[in-house]
C-alpha cells in the first residue's frame, strides 16, 4: 500500500522518467563526443531569412511529423489497446490529396492551401473512421484492421495524382515546410506546438481523457457507466486521422513534391515506438501525450546522433534497435519492480543503520 501511495505522489514525473533519462544520456554522450554539437547559430537561408540552425534545431524540426502522429497514436493506443500501422500510408493519401488540390489552382493563394488542407483532413478522417469502424464496431484487432490500409494506402495515393512525383511550387507551401519569412523557428516545430496546445485544450474542455482511459482500462465498466466504447474508439481513430493529415501536409511541403512510395515511409513503427518510449502502455489505459512527444524526440535525436557519428545509413537501423531494446527493457514492469525492490531494500538498510547508530 505504501509503495502504491508513494507512486501516486511521485506520479508527476514517473512516466516521463525514461524518455527524460534517454534524452539526458544522449545529450551528455553528444557533448562528450563533440562539445559544440548542440550549438545553435543563426544564418541566412536561401530565401534571405535569418533563421536558427544547428543539430538541435534539425532534431526538433525533423521529429515534427513523428511527434504529431505520436499524439494521435497515443489516443488510439489508450482507447483500443492496439496500434494503427497504416499512418504512413494514410499520410501518403492525405499528402496526395493536398498536392492534387494545390496543383488544380492556377495561382496558389492562402485560401487554396487552406482548402487543400481541409480536403486532405477530411479524407484522412474518413480513412481514420474506416479503421475505427473495423476496430470499434467489428471488433477486429487494430493491427489487423489497419493492415488493410497499410497494404493498399500507397496505391490509393498514386491514383489520386496519377503520376509518379508531382511537384508543387508555391511560396506558401515552402514556408509551411521550412520557414515563414521573419520567423527564425522552423514552421513544422510551430505546428507541433499548436497541435500539442490543441490537444491540451481538448482535454481541458471535454471529457475525452477520462472517457478514453476508462474505455482502455475497463471497457465493460465504462459501458455500464453510460460511456459508449464504440464511439470513443471511433473518435480516437478520427482524431488520429487529423494528425495524419497534418503530418502528411508538412511532409509534402518540406519536399515540394509527393512521392507516394517514400513519403513518411516506415513512420508507423517509429510512431508506435514513440508512444512506448513515452511510458504509455501499449495495452491501453492510462496515457500521457507529453510522454509520446518526448519519445518522438528521443528517436529523432538518436537518428541524428548516429548520422553525426558517420554511421553508414544502412547500419543506422541496427544501432537504433540496440538502443531501443535497452530503453524498452529498462521501462518494462519487470525491471521497474526489481528496481523499486532495490530502492526499498536500500531504504530498509538505511533505516536499520540509523537505528543501530541511535
Amino acid at each position: 500500500m505504501s509503495e502504491k501511495t508513494g507512486k501516486a505522489r511521485r506520479g508527476g514525473l514517473g512516466q516521463l522518467l525514461i524518455p527524460l533519462i534517454a534524452i539526458g544520456l544522449l545529450i551528455i554522450f553528444n557533448l562528450i563526443r563533440d562539445p559544440g554539437f548542440f550549438s545553435i547559430e543563426t544564418k541566412l537561408n536561401n530565401t534571405g531569412n535569418t533563421v536558427l540552425a544547428g543539430n538541435l534545431i534539425s532534431i526538433i524540426n525533423g521529429a515534427s511529423e513523428l511527434a504529431i502522429l505520436a499524439m494521435g497514436m497515443t489516443l488510439v493506443t489508450a482507447a483500443c489497446g492496439g496500434q494503427d500501422i497504416s499512418v504512413g500510408a494514410a499520410a501518403a493519401i492525405a499528402g496526395s490529396v493536398f498536392v492534387r488540390i494545390i496543383r488544380g489552382a492556377a495561382p496558389v493563394t492562402g485560401g487554396t492551401v487552406a482548402l487543400a488542407f481541409l480536403a486532405c483532413c477530411a479524407v484522412a478522417m474518413l480513412f481514420g473512421a474506416f479503421n475505427g469502424m473495423l476496430v470499434a464496431v467489428f471488433r477486429i484487432q487494430p493491427m489487423i484492421a489497419t493492415l488493410i490500409l497499410y497494404t493498399c494506402g500507397r496505391s490509393i495515393a498514386y491514383w489520386i495524382n496519377g503520376g509518379a512525383t508531382p511537384t508543387i511550387d508555391s511560396a506558401i507551401t515552402s514556408a509551411i515546410g521550412s520557414f515563414i519569412p521573419g520567423v527564425p523557428i522552423p514552421t513544422p516545430v510551430i505546428i507541433v506546438a499548436i497541435m500539442a496546445l490543441l490537444f491540451s485544450l481538448v482535454f481541458r474542455f471535454t471529457t475525452l481523457e477520462l472517457f478514453t482511459q476508462s474505455v482502455g482500462i475497463n471497457q465493460s465498466a465504462a459501458r455500464l457507466n453510460g460511456i459508449s466504447p464504440t464511439l470513443i474508439k471511433l473518435l480516437s481513430f478520427i482524431i488520429l486521422g487529423i494528425c495524419v493529415s497534418v503530418a502528411g501536409s508538412i511532409g509534402v511541403c518540406r519536399l515540394g513534391l509527393i512521392n507516394h512510395e517514400t513519403l513518411l515511409i516506415d513512420i508507423e513503427m517509429d510512431t508506435i515506438l514513440a508512444v512506448a518510449i513515452g511510458g504509455n502502455s501499449l495495452g491501453g489505459g492510462k496515457f500521457r501525450i507529453s510522454g509520446s512527444i518526448l519519445g518522438a524526440y528521443v528517436i529523432q535525436m538518436l537518428t541524428i546522433t548516429l548520422y553525426a557519428m558517420k554511421v553508414p545509413s544502412t547500419d543506422v537501423k541496427a544501432y537504433k534497435a540496440i538502443v531501443i531494446v535497452l530503453l524498452v527493457v529498462i521501462g518494462s514492469p519487470v525491471v521497474k519492480r526489481w528496481f523499486s525492490g532495490l530502492v526499498n531494500r536500500f531504504h530498509a538498510g538505511r533505516a536499520a543503520a540509523v537505528k543501530e547508530v541511535g
Binding site: 501516486a8 477520462l210 482511459q213 465498466a221 460511456i227
Partner: protein, 502 residues
C-alpha cells in the same frame, strides 16, 4: 452392479493462501449413478472437481479409483484422463474450426499420424450409438451448443472413462437441449459410467440424479439419496440453516412503503440474457430479487438498466412510457446500477478514487461539460467522508483499495448522480462484516429519502433485514413474490425450492 463403488475420495484438504477451500471432504461415486454435487458459491465444488482432475494438487487425503491399484496418483489433467476420469466443462473446450471427428480424436494416442478415415468411421459409430445428431465430417462450429456439449461427452466416453464430470453443462442450453443432454446422461448411466453432475438448477438435479452430495464452506454437509432430501431441505442444507431454527427467527421491524407512486414499471421486459418478466417499484421502496445463483436475478436487473441487449417489453418511468436499451438512457431516467462483479464491471482499476467517484455524474453531464478539478475534488472529499472510505488520498488508484472500500467508491459514484431508483447487485459480496452493516444502513437511509432501491444479496438474512418485498426467481423465471409476514427464511426457501413444504 449398481452398488459397486467406482470412486472414493477421503479426507480431502486443500488450502489456498488465506482460504481453507476444502477441509476433510469425503466423496464417493458408484457405477452407473448420476451424482449431484451441490453447494453455494464458494462452497468448494469446483475445488473438489479440480483436485479430482489434477488441476490442483491436494494437501491431504486419498483418492481411490476402481481398477487402479492402491492410491490413484493424479498430478495433472492428463493423469486423470489416462486413468479414466473425463471432464466436460461449462465452456466448450473443443476446437470449433475442426470437424466433429477431429475433435473427438485430437491429442489422443501416441501416434503423430492422423488416421482420418479410421477416426471418422469410429466417430460415426459412437455418435450413432449415443444418438447424437452430428456427422463426423461436420465442422464443430456448425453444431448447436448442446450438440457441441454432447460431442465433448462422446469424446470422453470413447476414452473409456469410468468417471464423467459434467461441470454446469446446462447453463447455456435451452429446455429442449437440456432434455437431449439428459437422455444421453441416462444412456451412459445404463452403460455403467459414474457421472458427477454440477449444476445450479435444482429442478434438473431432481430430474436426473440418484444421489446428492452437499458442500458448504469447504466442508462436507452430507451425501443423500434423492428420495431422502426434498428440495426445500436441500436448499436449507446448502445455506446451512436448520428449518426449525429458521422458523423461530423473528422478523425485524421492516421499512415498508409501497404506498407511494410507482417509480419504475416494466411489462414483459426481456433481454438477451433474461426471460420476459413484469416488475414495478414504488417510491422509497426497498425490494429484492432472490434465488440461487444462476436463477436469473442478476440478469433481470441488468435488463432494467439496459446492461444487456434488451429484446422486448414496455417500460414506464414515473408513469410515462420510455425506452431504455442502453445504460446511458437508464441513467438519464434516474436509474443507477451497482454491478454484481465489482472487478469486471465496476472499478476502473488504474484510475484514482476521485475519477472513479465522478465518472457516472460526468457521463451524465456530457462530453463537452467536464467537471473542473476543484469540483471533482470537492465531490470526492464529500463522499470519502460521508461513506467513510479508507483511502490514502483521493488520487490513489482505486485498484489498491480493499474490496469493501472499492465498493463504497462505486456506491459513491451512483449516489453522486442522485438517482431516483438505485439497483444494488450484491453490494456486500466479499467485504467485511462492518462494511456490510454500513451498506445496509445506508440502503435504509436512502429509502427514507425517497430513493427506490432494488437490493440483491446471496445472504438471505441481509435481504430480509432490508427489503419489504422479495421477488423469488428460479430457473430464470419469477416464481413468487413475498411481502409482510411471508418474509421469512423458510418461506423464501420453500418458494425457491418450489412447492409447499410442511
Amino acid at each position: 452392479m449398481p452398488n459397486e463403488t467406482v470412486l472414493t475420495m477421503r479426507g480431502i484438504c486443500k488450502q489456498f493462501p488465506g482460504v481453507r477451500a476444502l477441509h476433510n471432504v469425503d466423496f464417493s461415486l458408484r457405477k452407473g449413478e448420476i451424482h449431484a454435487l451441490m453447494g453455494e458459491n464458494g462452497a468448494g465444488k469446483s475445488t473438489l472437481i479440480k483436485v479430482l482432475t489434477g488441476v490442483y494438487g491436494k494437501d491431504a487425503g486419498s483418492i481411490h479409483l476402481d481398477g487402479v491399484e492402491g492410491e490413484a496418483n493424479i498430478h495433472s489433467p492428463q493423469d486423470a484422463q489416462n486413468i479414466g476420469i473425463a471432464t466436460v466443462y461449462q465452456e466448450i473446450t473443443l476446437c470449433p474450426n475442426l470437424t466433429v471427428a477431429e475433435n473427438m480424436y485430437i491429442g489422443r494416442g501416441a501416434s503423430f499420424l492422423v488416421r482420418r478415415k479410421e477416426y471418422e468411421k469410429k466417430a460415426g459409430q459412437i455418435l450413432e450409438n449415443l444418438g447424437i445428431p452430428a456427422r463426423p465430417r461436420q465442422q464443430l462450429a456448425s453444431c448447436s451448443l448442446a450438440v457441441q456439449q454432447m460431442v465433448a461427452i462422446a469424446r470422453a466416453v470413447d476414452m473409456q472413462c469410468k468417471v464423467l464430470i459434467l461441470d454446469e453443462p446446462t447453463s447455456s442450453l435451452d429446455d429442449k437441449e437440456v432434455q437431449m443432454l439428459f437422455s444421453l446422461m441416462r444412456d451412459l448411466k445404463a452403460r455403467g459410467v459414474g457421472i458427477i453432475f454440477v449444476t445450479h438448477f435444482l429442478e434438473q438435479v431432481y430430474e436426473v440424479c440418484d444421489r446428492i452430495t452437499v458442500l458448504r464452506n469447504g466442508e462436507l454437509v452430507g451425501a443423500y439419496r434423492i428420495e431422502e432430501l426434498p428440495q426445500v431441505q436441500l436448499v436449507a442444507k446448502m445455506m446451512g440453516k436448520d428449518l426449525d431454527e429458521l422458523n423461530s427467527m423473528n422478523a425485524f421491524e421492516r421499512w415498508n412503503r409501497t404506498d407511494g407512486p410507482v417509480v419504475y414499471e416494466a411489462r414483459q421486459l426481456s433481454s438477451s440474457e433474461s426471460r420476459p418478466f413484469d416488475f414495478q417499484i414504488h417510491r422509497g421502496e426497498v425490494n429484492g430479487f432472490t434465488g440461487l445463483l444462476g436463477s436469473g436475478r442478476s440478469e433481470s436487473v441488468r435488463a432494467i438498466f439496459g446492461a444487456d441487449h434488451v429484446t422486448g417489453g414496455q417500460v414506464k418511468v414515473d408513469g410515462k412510457p420510455v425506452r431504455i436499451t442502453r445504460p446511458i438512457e437508464a441513467m438519464k431516467h434516474g436509474i443507477g446500477y451497482l454491478p454484481e462483479d465489482r472487478k469486471r464491471d465496476g472499478i476502473i482499476a488504474d484510475l484514482s478514487v476521485r475519477e472513479n467517484i465522478i465518472l457516472a455524474l460526468q457521463v451524465m453531464k456530457g462530453f463537452f461539460r467536464p467537471l473542473s478539478r476543484a469540483e471533482a475534488e470537492k465531490f470526492a472529499d464529500e463522499y470519502i467522508q460521508a461513506l467513510n472510505i479508507k483511502t490514502a488520498s483521493k488520487d490513489t488508484p482505486i485498484g489498491s483499495l480493499s474490496g469493501g472500500n472499492q465498493q463504497k467508491v462505486i456506491l459513491a459514484r451512483w449516489l453522486l448522480t442522485h438517482p431516483d431508483y438505485l439497483i444494488l447487485d450484491e453490494p456486500t459480496r466479499g467485504i467485511d462484516v462492518g462494511t456490510k452493516l454500513e451498506i445496509q444502513k445506508l440502503v435504509l437511509k436512502l429509502a427514507e429519502d425517497n430513493v427506490s432501491i432494488t437490493f440483491i444479496s446471496s445472504e438471505i438474512e441481509e435481504m430480509l433485514r432490508t427489503c419489504s418485498r422479495l421477488i423469488v426467481m428460479r430457473d430464470r423465471n419469477i416464481v413468487g413474490e413475498l411481502t409482510g409476514d411471508d418474509l421469512t427464511q423458510t418461506r423464501v426457501m420453500q418458494t425457491i425450492a418450489g412447492g409447499e413444504a410442511s
